[in-house]
Amino acid sequence: MDLIKVTENAFKKEIDFPKFGSGDTITVSYRIKEGSKERTQNYRGVVIQRKGTGATETFTVRKISGGVGVERIFPLYSPAIEDVKINKRGKVRRARIYYLRELRGKKARIKERRF
C-alpha cells in the first residue's frame, strides 16, 4: 500500500460535513484564536476550486466583501474548521471556475442545480 497514505491515515481527522464541489455556495465555520479567546467566524462564499489529495487537500472560497473580491484557502482536514454548510448547489461545467474572478455583479451569478 501507498506509504504516504498509511502515514496520513495515522493522523486522519474524520470530517462530518457534506461533500461539496466547485460552484457550490458554502458557509465555513472557522475557529479563530485571539490572544487567549476563541471564537467562531462564518465565512460564506462560492467554492472556486478543490486542490490536492489526501491530507493536504484544500479548497478555495471566494466572496465579494465591500466591493472587493476576497479568496480564502482552507485545508480540508484543518481542525479549525468547525462546520461547513451548503447553502446552494451550483451548476458549473469545470472543476476550477477561475472565470468568476473577471465577472462582477449580475454576471457573476451561478445557476443553481436542481435535483
Binding site: L3, I4, V6, T7, A10, F11, T56, P75, S78, P79
Partner: protein, 205 residues
C-alpha cells in the same frame, strides 16, 4: 553514532495538537541486517556494518556475494557503518526502527537533487546586479568582479562561480521526530530531507 539506512518516501503535512499545519517527510527505515562487526583488535576501531535494500545475486560481484553469505543474508545495495548502539548485535541480526523509540531529534544524510549547471545566484546565493534598468543590459544575474587586475594577475582559488549544482552529500541536523509507525517501519520527521523520492538516506540519532 547509532543509526540506520532507509529510503525517502515523500512529503505530506499533518496538523499538530495546537492546530498548526506541520510539513513532514515520511522515511522508510530498515529493517537493516548486520553484515560485519568491526572490533578494536581486528580493525582498530569499533563499529557495526549494516546493509539495506535488496539486490539480485546475479548483479553482485563474487567478493560481495561472499560477504553477504557470511552474514547469511541476501545481497544488499547499501552498506554503512555505525557505532555506539545500545544493544550488542551479532552477525546476521536485523535492526529495526525500534532503536529510535526514545529519541526526539534525528540527523538525516542524503544526496541532494542534481540541478545541473547553475549560475551564481542559485548556486551561491549571490544577489545579482540588483537593478534591471539604469544602463543594465543582460547582467541581471551576473557575479560582478572576480578579483583585482595586474596585482595579483590571477583569480584566487576557491572563488565562487557558476557550475554543477546539487548532487552533493548533505546532512540535515536535528529534525524533530513526530511519529514512528512500527508495522511499516516508517519514521515521520518534521521538515524536509535532501534527495528525491525513493533515494537512500542515512538516519542517525
Amino acid at each position: 553514532m547509532a543509526g540506520l539506512i532507509g529510503k525517502k518516501i515523500g512529503m505530506t503535512s499533518i496538523f499538530s495538537a495546537e492546530g498548526k499545519n506541520i510539513p513532514c517527510t515520511v522515511l522508510q527505515v530498515g529493517p537493516c541486517v548486520v553484515t560485519q562487526i568491526k572490533t578494536k583488535e581486528n580493525d582498530g576501531y569499533e563499529a557495526i556494518q549494516v546493509a539495506y535494500g535488496n539486490k539480485k545475486e546475479r548483479k553482485t560481484n563474487s567478493p560481495m556475494n561472499g560477504h553477504f553469505k557470511k552474514a547469511k543474508t541476501s545481497p544488499k545495495r547499501k552498506l554503512v557503518e555505525f557505532s555506539n548502539f545500545k544493544k550488542k548485535y551479532k552477525l546476521g541480526d536485523t535492526i529495526t526502527v525500534d532503536i529510535f523509540k526514545d529519541d526526539v531529534f534525528v540527523d538525516v544524510t542524503g544526496i541532494s537533487k542534481g540541478k545541473g549547471f547553475q549560475g551564481v545566484v542559485k548556486r551561491h546565493g549571490f544577489h545579482g546586479v540588483g537593478e534591471s534598468t539604469h544602463g543594465q543590459h543582460n547582467r541581471l544575474r551576473a557575479p560582478g568582479s572576480i578579483g583585482a587586475s595586474s596585482d595579483p594577475s590571477r583569480v584566487f582559488k576557491g572563488m565562487r562561480m557558476a557550475g554543477r549544482t546539487g548532487g552533493d552529500r548533505v546532512k540535515v541536523l536535528n529534525l524533530k521526530l513526530i511519529k514512528i509507525i512500527f508495522e511499516q517501519n516508517l519514521l515521520i520527521v518534521k521538515g524536509s530531507v535532501p534527495g528525491s523520492k525513493g533515494s537512500y538516506i542515512i538516519i542517525e540519532k
